[in-house]
């Protein structure tokens, strides 16, 4: 698992998406991250400090390659803008639905 910063994560993700185009798939996972990198202590021991603010952990997996990044609250708008751009450019294998408008025009003309 490679932890990257947000911009590098998107760059690597684009490479992964290109590789996965031919006969493969990739998976993205989003979950809440509280900043702790250790397990929850057993009963009777001091519990972990409650985090002031939560972050979002984004992971991507392609075959055995795994990358991840942590998105802070202040970075959410920029990261989501980059991610939407990525989705638009790389997830382009979905079926296009013809707009009703163009059909109406065609019948008129």
């Amino acid at each position: 698992m490679v932890l990257l910063d947000n911009a590098n994560f998107i760059l690597r993700l684009e490479k992964i998406a290109n590789e996965a185009k031919k006969n493969a798939s990739f998976t993205m996972t989003f979950k809440r991250y509280d900043g702790h990198d250790r397990p929850v202590p057993r009963e009777g021991k001091k519990p972990l400090a409650k985090p002031e603010t939560y972050m979002c952990l984004m992971r991507a997996q392609f075959k055995s390659k795994k990358i991840s990044t942590v998105v802070r609250q202040e970075d959410v708008p920029t990261m989501m803008a980059m991610y939407s751009q990525f989705m638009k450019s790389k997830m382009d294998g979905l079926k296009r639905v013809k707009k009703v408008k163009s059909k109406a025009k065609a019948t008129k003309g």
């Binding site: 998406a17 998976t27 996972t29 959410v76 989501m80």
Partner: protein, 77 residues
């Protein structure tokens, strides 16, 4: 492990599941280019809702729900 047919139902179910238990929820998407579909899944390790997107217009809605969820995940509460 059943796919939800209707997008609105999935959106509501996924958001409610996340809100009920934010610490244990994960949201995943799997993109298969040569089959032309994108699978969405929200699970809290007990229940699971899934949606299969095959049409282009779904992508816009998925972008919206993803941004919403990430916004909720990276917040103070």
């Amino acid at each position: 492990m059943v796919f939800v047919k209707n997008w609105e139902d999935f959106e509501i179910a996924a958001e409610n599941m996340y809100m009920a238990n934010p610490q244990n929820c994960r949201y995943t998407m799997k993109y298969v280019h040569n089959k032309g579909h994108l699978l969405l899944k929200m699970t809290d390790n007990v229940k699971c809702v899934q949606y299969k997107a095959e049409n282009m217009p779904d992508l816009k809605k998925i972008e919206k729900i993803t941004s919403n969820l990430v916004g909720h995940m990276a917040s103070k509460e």
